[in-house]
């Protein structure tokens, strides 16, 4: 308490600023303000600005990359769709070709069958004709012989002989036609 009284009597008041402290306080603050305002804060502001730009540049780059990726994806999709379309078209074509091939082969088969049948018919006809001609000769000869034996005379006269045979055969044929 005694010290308090001494302090009070000396007129010491904590709210009365001592002048030297004011001066030193000002000096100390000016040191801080001078360094910070003139050098250090401009420094860091520049770097903060650079960083902001770097980040924005990065974002721009990323955006560009994304756009490119998007376009490439679209391109791929388009190509894929085209390929699918092409495949479908090829399949369709193949089907159509297969169908025509089958039809052609069927037609060819038909044609060949008909040819074979026709050839068979022709062969049969030729055989028949040959047989008929052979038969006609044999029958003629036989008939002449028979007639000669029966008549007792030789029908050597050739002209007459063949006439008789022809008439006979025509009769025969007529009968066969009628029978058919």
């Amino acid at each position: 308490m005694s010290q308090l009284l001494i302090a009070a009597s000396e007129g010491e008041n904590p709210l009365v600023p001592p002048i030297p402290e004011l001066v030193i306080g000002l000096l100390a603050f000016v040191i801080v303000f001078g360094f910070l305002a003139k050098k250090l804060l401009p420094n860091i502001n520049k770097v903060l600005e650079q960083r902001r730009e770097a980040i924005e540049g990065g974002i721009e780059k990323a955006e560009a990359a994304q756009t490119e990726a998007q376009s490439v994806l679209e391109q791929y999709k388009a190509q894929l769709a085209e390929a699918r379309h092409e495949a479908a078209r090829l399949r369709q074509e193949a089907q159509e070709q297969g169908a025509t091939l089958i039809a052609e082969m069927r037609a060819e088969g038909q044609r060949q069958r008909e040819e074979i049948v026709a050839a068979g018919h022709a062969q049969i006809e030729a055989d028949r004709k040959a047989a008929a001609s052979a038969l006609r000769q044999d029958v003629g000869k036989l008939a002449t012989e028979l007639a000669g034996k029966l008549v007792g005379e030789s029908l050597e006269d050739h002209a007459r002989q063949s006439r008789v045979i022809d008439r006979f055969l025509e009769d025969l044929e007529e009968k066969a036609e009628a029978a058919r």
Binding site: Q3, P14, I19, E21, F35, I44
Partner: protein, 275 residues
């Protein structure tokens, strides 16, 4: 410093409870805030004492810290730069942009950042071992800072609003008040022009003064009661020292923040259109 018997450290005295020694003989008081000059003569105005040393040391520490962090700043910051940037950004965005706005406020960022770290450092001396004295509990230091802000505020108001505008701004001129206008103007005039710089400085000073007194009180009491069964009281008192130290750590940052927040509010008031 040790010429005055009460300026010795608490543990240097042999005064204890139950020894017939009164607490008043060792209790903290105004004398705890007065220092014998380290150099020069206390009676003249040319001297150098502990608070001045701490103030200048504080300046060097702040400049040193920011020099190390921002001298060659990198776009990709190192650890120290990141910490310093966080503090810088907190004041710039959290205080200046919030109150004055980005466009007008940018100019005042260096001042406000300097003020905040300077005040905080001077406050911090309170709990830094060996120093253990908040420089801002000497009224000169907060006062000089408040005066800088006050001069800035007055000149800004003049520049922005002209002579008539200045007085309108300072007196809060508002016709709609009618009959009470003269009274309101008088109160506003006193409040803005005379009381404001005083409260601005004293708010910081008183907080630090009270905080330091509390710390001293519990520290000295811990030693004083360390006798007989007084040890139990001393233990409680010592726990309070720890608690109050932590509390002071918080108050120091808070008061520095409040100081710059008010600074920004005043600048904003000077720049704003008067009502």
């Amino acid at each position: 410093m040790s010429a005055d018997p009460t300026q010795v450290l608490a543990f240097d005295t042999n005064c204890h409870l139950f020894d017939g020694c009164g607490f008043a003989d060792v209790s903290p008081g105004l004398h705890s805030f007065m220092f014998q000059p380290l150099w020069g003569d206390g009676d003249s105005n040319v001297y150098f004492n502990k608070t001045m040393l701490l103030a200048l040391l504080g300046s060097i520490i702040i400049v040193g810290f920011f020099w190390a962090a921002f001298r060659r700043p990198q776009v990709v910051p190192g650890k120290l730069q990141m910490v310093a940037e966080a503090g810088y950004d907190f004041i710039r965005r959290g205080v200046v942009y919030e109150t004055i706005g980005k466009k007008e406020g940018e100019k005042y960022v260096p001042l406000v950042v300097s003020l905040f770290f300077f005040v905080w450092m001077l406050n911090l001396w309170s709990i830094i071992p060996l120093a253990q004295f908040p420089v801002t509990s000497i009224i000169s230091y907060p006062l000089v800072l408040a005066l800088i802000v006050y001069i800035l505020w007055v000149s800004l108001t003049f520049k922005r609003h002209g002579f008539v505008g200045f007085w309108k701004n300072v007196t809060g001129y508002d016709k709609s008040l009618g009959a009470v206008l003269p009274l309101a103007m008088l109160i506003e005039l006193f409040s803005n022009l005379l009381i404001r710089p005083f409260t601005h400085a004293v708010r910081l000073f008183a907080n630090m003064f009270a905080g330091h007194t509390l710390l001293l009180l519990f520290t000295i009491a811990s030693w004083y009661m360390l006798n007989g069964f007084g040890i139990a009281y001393a233990g409680v008192s010592f726990v309070m020292v720890i608690v109050m130290t932590a509390f002071e750590l918080f108050i120091q940052a808070l008061q520095a923040y409040v100081f710059v927040l008010l600074t920004c509010t005043y600048i904003q008031g000077a720049l704003a259109e008067h009502h």
